[in-house]
Amino acid sequence: MAARDTGTMEQNVDIQKHLSVGKNPRGIPTATFIEDVGAFLQTLGGVPVETAIGAFNELYGKCKTLENSLGRVKLSMKAKIPEIEKTLELVHVLEGKQAEGEALTTHYNLADTIYAKAEVACHGRVCLWLGANVMLEYSYEEAKGVLETSLRNAKEKLKTTNEDLEHLKNQTTTIEVNMARLFNYDVKRRKALRQEEGAADKTGGGKGRGNGNPK
């Protein structure tokens, strides 16, 4: 029993090797494109088509999961970028007011449904909320620097996430087409087999077809 199990395991590992060729810069596998279905099945060691389709299906599932998680990252980046831009704009406004030597009157969110009035003397310092209950005070210049770096990083992350998602989309499409072709190949093969059997039966003479002629 143990020997048989390792046999199947080796078979599985072998199949996995043929399902993808290479990876993208962030380690997402590139699915194999099947040039010729028959030849491909041979390289897998003559396994039944269901095994091949099953293996691809597994890879497909993994790709879909990865796609979902990357989709969430993308959404969070897309929300983060406008926020950073708004904060940056605010710092510019403060700078402008400081240059004019004017104070700023603002109504800010004191609590959920309450706004309070505040006079802001723009004296060159601003506090940035960095998350995790941490707030740091910066000069306007430093604050702009921090925000601009943040913005650049977020845009970069969005770019690489988009690239990954495109790559994944290619792989899922390729795998779907592969599975469809494997399936169709199998259907054709079975049909051809049935036709062959049908022809053999006809030429083999009329042996009792077993239509249940009760005696």
Partner: protein, 145 residues
């Protein structure tokens, strides 16, 4: 997989992909270039849908700015509270109008850019459709519904 042997793409909301009925006549083999074109088509489709969403959001923002500018025009010249970040700043009407108009220009430029990109994608998709339908006929489905 349905029992009639027709393989359709798993995601029903984005029904673009291969639907091959094995019983139908010509079985055109899928070449690497074909796969690349199908992949490109899928990618472009995703981009198109995303652009659609972004455009809808931008148009909404533009409408709000339009309303704001209209309101400012009927104003009596008193102080106006401008929403910046998450707080409201007391500013003059002129400042607020200028701010809104600047924003409108930026958004309008963005809307036009996205519109152009959508146009490019649509053109490329038409080209791909011609080739792929020409090659695979009814074995492939490239529509959105």
């Amino acid at each position: 997989m349905s029992t009639t042997g027709v393989m359709r793409e798993v995601n029903p909301s984005q029904d673009k992909g291969k639907a091959k009925t094995p019983d139908e006549a010509p079985d055109v083999e899928v070449r690497k270039e074909d796969q690349e074109m199908i992949n490109e088509f899928g990618r472009l489709n995703n981009q198109y849908l995303e652009l659609d969403e972004d455009l809808a959001y931008l148009k909404e923002q533009l409408e709000k700015l339009d309303d704001a500018v209209t309101e400012l025009m009927v104003g009596v010249g008193g102080p106006v509270r401008l929403s910046l970040g998450e707080a409201f700043m007391d500013v003059s009407e002129d400042y607020a109008t200028e701010h809104c108009e600047r924003k409108q220009e930026q958004l309008q430029a963005k809307v036009e850019e996205l519109g152009r990109e959508k146009g490019k994608i649509a053109t490329r998709q038409m080209e791909l459709k011609k080739v792929l339908y020409g090659r695979f006929g009814s074995s492939i489905n490239l529509e959105n519904s």
